[in-house]
Symmetry: D2
């Protein structure tokens, strides 16, 4: 199933007048405050977030999983799903593959299919947290940090293989998320585990093509419940430095202890030129992988405030790789992803509205009240007309969820794939 | 110092045209969605929040305190300060006294002063967490829960005294916050401490005038760092039930463990008719007592969503007593309170915009995506024009902080009181 | 595979002399402090903890599961496994079934098998958090709290069925753990969800045999990540009260927000006669289901201190049902359970050593230093000789893990069952 | 007041026989397991922990403070108090001064007094979190990170002054704890604040004598409740690296977010040769500053396990500076400190008993069960006889708290100083 420009235009037609009026009024207001509205809309239109291939089917918890009808059961269908999202939102112009779940059989066909859907291949993700059928070694007690050299070698080689697959598709970065750690005090020697991890990462790094980046993710706990080898940004940063210039830290919003000030971590990493990638989601308790912006939208705004600042003021930092990493336990995954994209764009738009000059002055004057007012001024603005304008200009839907439903996308997918298709992967 | 209606009108004048245009545009948009805008504006205008007398000076931490210039040093000045806030915001029509910090000398004069400032006396607060000079007994090891009957008696009597003072001023409720607990395992017998607390509260309850309410606050920790006698809503609820119909639970937003779902507690208490009072503030870590809405505004909205629902659907629950309980460590306390009031009104306004009918339908259909959309639709709306309209109609300032500054309120207070006045109390 | 008394005696022989010397020295020391050592040893010997049927295979996380060799694949083998643990520890004299995973085919045979293993059937557990094949209704959006009456009815009926199965086996209690809740703000109406849950529980309660108890478990989050209907002890307590005298709260150690003072909850519930059951495990982050005592052994001791106090001083509270509810992701499940049993007995023994009389005196004198010293005096004592003596007297192994290994239990199970048997259930 | 060796011997006499029997029995048991008991006892005797000068009076919270009778009101009396603790425990052979609270008037006299009490001067602590009377600049909005150069200069100079004072007393290290941060989003520019902090620290570092060390403390929150400039070990580590070889990270046990794996941080820092200092305390919620070992003794043991490992295997790391940093809100401060010292020695002793060789083997074999058993074997051992033996050999009291009370130390101090003396400082 594919959505044509014409279908979207038809759906938009009914609400376009309303949008125009809302947008014009807002544009005028913002303009009177000195905001360059066109520039903001252009930035929103340019902002693209990768969809991971494993996010297109229903997620689950250790207590079970409730399937969704019409899930994609192969890579082609996954690309198709991302294409649908991108048609509607014009914000999801990339897909991020997970190996070995998504190894292409025919590379050319896959690349053509992606191109037809206006998608590029973003970071490729390795998997050393699960055992693959017929694998020689098991990751039960760790992969890159394993005390057993045979296991480490297998895990290193898998990462090298993933890079090769990525190269064939045009990816330019590898994301390494390690579940390695321990469930009980005493199980791991922390220093040895760290050292093995560093050595393994360096080995992978050596095989990295010249124009690639390596992203090192961190996470405090889960699936290990006592310690995790790369438990925080400090550890990831240390490892990235040990590897070299092409190695970076990757921040996943759900991978922090309760109450962590994530925006400060973002600022520090960008200042040091080491923020490579970003995984969006939301959470109330742990790594809940909830829809972006569904729980703590102000936090997301504050993080974007640092991202916008860094993208402007930190030339030492590369443009980060953006990806949604959420789990869809009870919603239609495509609708859920559309909601996430909307929340990301909203936070980005609001961050773009912060009056940076006035903020700097208030900070220099220690005028704390005004500092707060300035952030809230931007945050309290209803920026949805800006998002809609950006989508409209790019050929997307003014109201993507409404369009998705009125175009009966899910129904078509079920018809094509059957109710009980099951997504490969997790 | 007092602010006249005329002064406010003069300040408003310059921004009134702009406001009118913003308000009309929003009103039209909302109207087209079926919102009764006038009704919303009226509810906002009617909503009044008490200011506690101890919040008018600078707060501090255990590491020290930085004074603010021109702090009020007696009850008259405190009333004056609340009067200023109320003039500007038309939302702070009540003051909540803390005994023994605010015992009036001349009751009639104090009542007249309050009336002149259009203020009523809301809940009175007792203090059994600090020793008073020349007190016979010490609260070092607890008050209402103390193993020593003499201490319990003194604490009970103090609460009875507070009620008497409140009666003379027209208050109708007593808030009991107990710091009682223990710092080390073994220090307290939990069961005995609970029993003594229940007995003491019942004794106070007996002395309560017929038309009064008693609010029982809960808090998980601080100033005790191992256990707190009334550690959670369940304990407070149990105690309120044991006392009787006039006893209620009081929710302070900062008094919860990390990640607590506070809105669900609010819903449960209202359903059971036991939510008596509400203390507003915000926090990132513990009982930070930060400006309302400065850290987690979406949480505040979700809580107001339950409050609005309960006020409409739970006749068994009395209209709650609202109060701001924040600490102003580095901001001008009056400006800080104005920011808090704005955030409260904002959350309330957004909650009033939730399409309850559509929400119920979506809930019945398990349409989780639409449930989320409906809350976000309300939340994402920029409701500031509604707040301004409500203030305008009541004679308040369109932009209270701006007005406060352009009227040079703090400068006048310093002139009147001197730079180094120190607020009585904490 | 079964372990005979003789096999155990043989293994014990080698270390019996060492044990005797350790025990005698400790007994003498404790005796000189006024401890009735025999009484303590008898209490330890009498203390029996149920093993849940689902804990005998490897557990997992949402990221996958690593199987263990020789897992039991039917109810008979599960009973066999518990029998092995009980032979060695003499502490695991009960099994707790999970329906529908463990529906017996031949009740008499199952009862005889249990009896032969010296096991009784403790609380039966219902499951309404997963869909069963061919079930008419889905629990995707809740069970006892579902907005759809058909789903609620199915869930109620399932619980009634579970009770019937339990009756045939001699169980005397039903444990209800509800995953019900919501993943996103707005999804659930808190008040309705609570009310439906109360109604459903009351319906189940009505079908409860006269001599049965119903245990209502609570949990703050997971598998739902925004709200859980029975989120805390206060909610569970309220529901138990609404149902009646035979309904109780069940405490699972892992089901609390960070930093909760669990021992105080235990004390409150016992004082009110409402602590019905107890699930042991340990955790560092969330509901980690780690081996009991592996992370926070002092916490466990403090909880046992309240349990011991309550069992002595609260005749209004029934003797609680004890169960281990841990997950065994990387250890041999039987070894892991043996470690848990050891940790439970250790905490119980230490709690029994607390000088309650001296503690009470110190509490009355507010001698906080001595209160702490008294708890630490008990906790710092090495009580392992007491545990060994209790096992020795009951015919168990002095060192269960060592015995388990020297008797090559796992090897025998693998031989019997094959390497790749997979436990039924989760 | 001073305690003589003879007084202590007299008190010990009554319990010496009992101790000897306990010690011999334990020594024999440990010896049979291959432990070099004498070596362990010697290590315990050698282990010395500094007492900070501010810990000798009662602490408090933002809700107030309850004084203790007989508090020291000048530096001489503080040294005297530490001398008393050291006499009894033989573990507190150092004092750590806080400037400007403890600026000596007569350096020689102070040094002689310390020597007479067998005390050395450990790290000196600067204070830029409070304003000093007549200070030109205020630290209300930060010190080393302040946007105002004048404030930064004053704070830098203060640290340089502190070093000079320390030099005159024989200290060899400076501890910098920065309260700097922000209370509200927007208040601080994270990148600027970090950069200023780095610059200021480098300036202080430049003035550091050749044989000195600088310790950089981190803390996630309090007294600032939105952000803290040095929020975690990663930030501190980065700053220490930027300064140079003499700069190190200092770990305070209470300065971590909920559930942080502190022992892993310790291991990482020692591996990198950057763990300079250590502040002991305990906590259940935040930076509670409770008595060491009173809440999470197993955590303390796990941390000591890493410290012992690092002191043996990481020659790249200097011997860390140990200090107790607790607050004594309701206990006699001296008794509280004695309890802390006992808990530290206990954790250290248990860590020394871990069979490192067997642990390494079990780790290499991924025998998780045995790894856990080995740590628990050490932890479950009652090591108090070893601590007593170490004290006995050094001339300390077998039971310091009992001795403190029987020698009526507090009564003598009250007689000397009066009831209402108030400790200088916080």
């Amino acid at each position: 199933m594919q959505i044509s420009k014409e279908q979207i235009q038809l759906v938009n037609k009914k609400v376009e007048a309303g949008h125009e009026s809302q947008f014009n009024f807002l544009a005028q207001t913002l303009d009177s405050k000195g905001v360059d509205v066109n520039a903001v809309v252009k930035k929103l239109a340019d902002f693209q977030v990768a969809i991971p291939s494993w996010a297109l089917g229903a997620g689950g918890t250790r207590f079970g999983r409730f399937s969704y009808f019409g899930e994609p059961s192969n890579l082609e269908q996954k690309i198709n799903d991302v294409g649908i999202i991108h048609s509607l939102t014009q914000t999801a112009g990339a897909i991020s593959l997970h190996i070995p779940w998504d190894v292409p059989e025919d590379y050319n066909a896959i690349k053509e299919l992606a191109a037809a859907n206006h998608l590029v291949f973003d970071a490729v993700n390795s998997n050393t947290f699960q055992d693959q059928k017929d694998a020689k070694e098991s990751y039960k007690y760790g992969s890159l940090s394993n005390v057993n050299k045979g296991v480490r070698d297998q895990a290193v080689q898998h990462n090298i293989d993933v890079v090769e697959i990525g190269e064939k598709l045009g990816s330019k970065s590898l994301t390494v998320w390690l579940a390695d750690g321990s469930n009980f005090p005493g199980q791991n020697n922390f220093q040895t585990a760290f050292q093995y991890t560093e050595d393994s990462l360096k080995e992978i790094y050596t095989s990295l093509p010249e124009d690639w980046k390596m992203f090192i993710e961190y996470k405090p706990y889960e699936p290990n419940f006592y310690s995790t080898v790369i438990q925080d940004w400090g550890t990831s940063f240390m490892l990235a430095n040990a590897c070299g210039d092409k190695a970076y830290t990757l921040v996943d919003l759900g991978h922090h202890l309760p109450n962590t000030n994530i925006e400060q971590i973002v600022a520090t990493l960008m200042m040091k030129g080491k923020l490579g990638g970003f995984h969006f989601n939301d959470s109330k308790y742990g790594d809940d992988d909830s829809t972006v912006g569904s729980v703590k939208p102000y936090s997301l705004f504050l993080i974007f405030n640092e991202l916008v600042y860094g993208m402007k003021n930190n030339p030492q930092n590369p443009y980060p790789a953006w990806m949604i990493d959420a789990s869809h336990n009870i919603k239609d995954p495509l609708e859920d992803l559309i909601q996430s994209l909307e929340a990301i764009q909203e936070a980005y738009a609001k961050a773009l509205l912060v009056d940076q000059k006035a903020l700097k002055e208030a900070q220099l004057a220690n005028d704390v009240v005004v500092c707060q007012e300035l952030l809230q001024e931007a945050y309290r603005t209803d920026v949805r007309p800006l998002l809609r304008e950006a989508r409209l200009k790019s050929g997307g839907a003014l109201h993507p969820i409404t369009a998705y439903r009125s175009l009966q996308v899910r129904e078509s997918l079920i018809e094509e794939r059957g109710k009980y298709a099951v997504a490969s992967g997790l």
